[in-house]
Amino acid sequence: MISLQRRLSIALAGILLVAGLLLIKSSLWLFDSAMRHYLQNDLRDEAQSLLGAVREGHLGLLLDDRRIDPSFQRPYSGRYFRIDFADTTWRSRSLWDAQLAVAQQPAMQPELVDGPQQQRLLVWRGDYQRFGQSLVITVAQDYTPVLYNLRRVQWLFAAIGGMTLLLVLCLQRWAVQRALRPLEQVRGQVRQLQEGQRTQLHDQVPVELLPLVQQVNDLLRQTEQSLQRSRTALGNLGHALKTPLAVLFNLLHRQPLAQEPMLQAELREHLQQIEQRMARELGRARLAGDVLPGAHFDCAAELPAFLDTLRMVHGQRVQLAWQAPQGLRVAVDREDLLELLGNLLDNACKWARQRVELSLTPSADALLICVDDDGPGIAEDKRAEVLGRGNRLDEQVAGHGLGLAIVRDIAESWGASLQLLDSPLGGLQVRLAIPSRRT
C-alpha cells in the first residue's frame, strides 16, 4: 500500500538533503577560494620583500638576512622560500633539511604541494629581473590550519543541517497529517459505511474532496433507489402473475375439471411448477447481495417482530428463542437477512418438536449464524444431498428443498458458507458463516 504521508516525507527529505549538500559544498568552496585569494596577495608581498632583500655585493648577489622576515629563519615555521638565479639556489632556513621544488608556472599554483611535517603548502612564484640577472622567487605558506578549520566548519554544517532536516521532517509530518485529516475522516466513514453504521458520507469536507464525496453519495442513493425500484417492479410482477394463478388453482376444483381427475392432476402439477419457478426467480432477483455498502440489520429492532411472525405462522407449538450480543448490527441488507432467516427458521419450525433457537455470534473474521432445532435431524450421509437439492427445477419440492435453495442463493451473494451439523438440542443445526468485509 502506498501512503501519501510516506511519499511526501521521502520526497521532501530527498530535496532537503540534495539542497543542503549543495549549500555546504558551495559555501566551503567559496570560503576556500577567498582564503587562497587573500593569501596569494600575502605571498606576493612576501616575494617582493625578498626581492628587496637581494643586494649586489662584490662577489655577486647577496641576501640581506636582516631584511628577511624572522619566520623564514625558524625551522618548519610554515613559511618557506627559494630563490633561483643562474645556477645558484637560496633556500630559507625554515626549510631545514626539506626540499621545496621550483613551481611550474608563475603566480599562484592551482594545487597544494606536500611540505615538511605533513604540511600542505600554498605555493606562489614570481619571475623578476634584477642586477642583470633573472631571479625566480618561490614562496610557500602552510595551508593546513585553514584546511583543518574548513573541515571543522564542514562537520558543523553537517550537524546543523542534519538537525534541521529532522526538524523539518517532523514539522512536515505534522502539517501533512493536519492537511490529510479530512481524508482520514472520510476513510473512517467509508469503513462505517461498510459496517452498515451509516448510509451516506458526511459532506462537510474540503473543496478538493467534495466532488468525490458527493459522487459516492450520489452513487449510494442511485443504487438504493434502483434496488428499491427493481424490488417494487418485481413485487408488482409477482402480484400480476400470482393473482391469476390463485384463480387458476381455484378453478381446478370447479366443474367440469373436478370430474377429470387426470387432467386436474396434470394441470395442478404444471401450475405448481410455474409457481415454484416464479417464487425462486423472483426471490433471487430481489436479493441486494453486496451492492449496498450502507445496508445493515439491527438485531434488537428486527428479530422480535420477525419471531412473532414465525409464531403467527406456526402457532404456539414451537418455542422460539434468539440470542445475539447487545446492539449487534449486521452489515447486510435487511430484506436479504430476513428472507434467509425466514426460510431457515420456517424449516426448523416445521421439523422441530418443541424448540428452535437462533444465535448470532460475531467473531474477528466472520459472523456466525446458527439455527438449532430439536427435531429428527438429517443423517450425516444425507446432508450433502439436502444442501444440493433444488439445483434443478424438477428437484424443487416445498419445505426443505425450495427454502434451502433460496438460502443458498442469499449465502452465495454474501460469499458465506453453509453447513449442516448435529445440534446440541438433538436435531439439525444449520450454520452460516458470513465473512466480515475487508476495510
Binding site: H239, L241, K242, V247, F306
Partner: protein, 222 residues
C-alpha cells in the same frame, strides 16, 4: 360469521365469494382501499380478508389505520408479496395471519377457521368442539359419537356462530348482522325458525331463549 373480502382482482374475488359462501360465511366484497377503510370500521365483521395491492389506498395503510382506530377484528392478509420482510411488515401493521398467493382454496378455508377459533380463545384442532357439541366444518355436520347429524347451510351458520360465542347472550339483531351480508333480505322470524330446527335435531337444552333479550348457547355438556 360475517366476513369482509377486500380484493381488487375481480375473477379471484368471484371465486373466493363463491367458495366462502359455500362454507357458510356471509361475505361482503370491496375492491377499493378507501371504501374498505370506512366499511371495516362501521360494520360488525367477524373477520377481514385483506389484499395488499389495492387501488385507492395500499392494504398495509388501511390495516394500520384500522388498528390505530382500535379495530380488533382479526385480519388475514392475502397477498402476492411473499418475502419475509413483507410478512414482518404486515405483522407490524397488525395482521393476524398472512397467506401468500397463489394459494390452495382449502388452505384459505383452514386459515379462516383457525383464525376465527383463535380470535374466540378456542384451541385449533380438526373439529370445532364446544360444550359437548362437535362440529365438522368441512362436512357442515354435527358429530355425536359415531352418528353424523347433517345440517342445512342456514343451520350450520347459526350453530357455528353460537358455538364461537358460548354462554353469551345474543340478540336477534346481532345474529342477523353476523349471519347475513349487507345485501341480504333479513326476515324477522328466520332466526326463530332455525333455532327451533337446531333444537329438534340436537336437543332442547342446546339453546336457551331469554324472552325479549335473545338466545344463549348452553351446549350438551350435562
Amino acid at each position: 360469521m360475517r366476513l369482509l373480502l377486500v380484493e381488487d382482482h375481480v375473477p379471484l374475488a368471484d371465486e373466493l365469494l363463491a367458495d366462502l359462501g359455500r362454507q357458510g360465511y356471509a361475505v361482503d366484497w370491496l375492491a377499493d382501499g378507501r371504501d374498505a377503510l370506512w366499511q371495516g370500521q362501521h360494520e360488525p365483521y367477524d373477520l377481514i380478508v385483506l389484499d395488499l395491492g389495492l387501488p385507492g389506498m395500499p392494504g398495509l395503510q388501511v390495516l394500520r389505520e384500522w388498528r390505530a382506530a382500535g379495530l380488533t377484528t382479526p385480519v388475514l392478509v392475502l397477498t402476492a408479496r411473499a418475502s419475509w420482510a413483507e410478512r414482518v411488515d404486515g405483522l407490524k401493521a397488525g395482521a393476524d395471519d398472512y397467506l401468500c398467493k397463489p394459494f390452495h382454496p382449502e388452505e384459505l378455508a383452514l386459515r379462516i377457521q383457525a383464525l376465527l377459533r383463535r380470535a374466540h380463545g378456542l384451541a385449533v384442532q380438526a373439529h370445532l368442539a364446544v360444550e359437548g357439541v362437535v362440529l365438522d366444518e368441512a362436512r357442515q355436520a354435527v358429530l355425536r359419537g359415531d352418528e353424523i347429524v347433517q345440517l342445512t347451510a342456514a343451520e350450520f351458520r347459526l350453530l357455528r356462530y353460537f358455538m364461537l360465542h358460548p354462554g353469551q347472550l345474543l340478540s336477534k339483531s346481532q345474529l342477523n348482522e353476523h349471519l347475513y351480508d349487507g345485501e341480504s333480505e333479513r326476515e324477522s322470524n328466520v332466526i326463530e325458525v332455525h333455532v327451533k330446527r337446531l333444537r329438534d335435531k340436537l336437543g332442547r337444552e342446546l339453546i336457551e331463549t331469554r324472552r325479549g333479550q335473545g338466545y344463549r348457547f348452553l351446549g350438551l355438556a350435562k
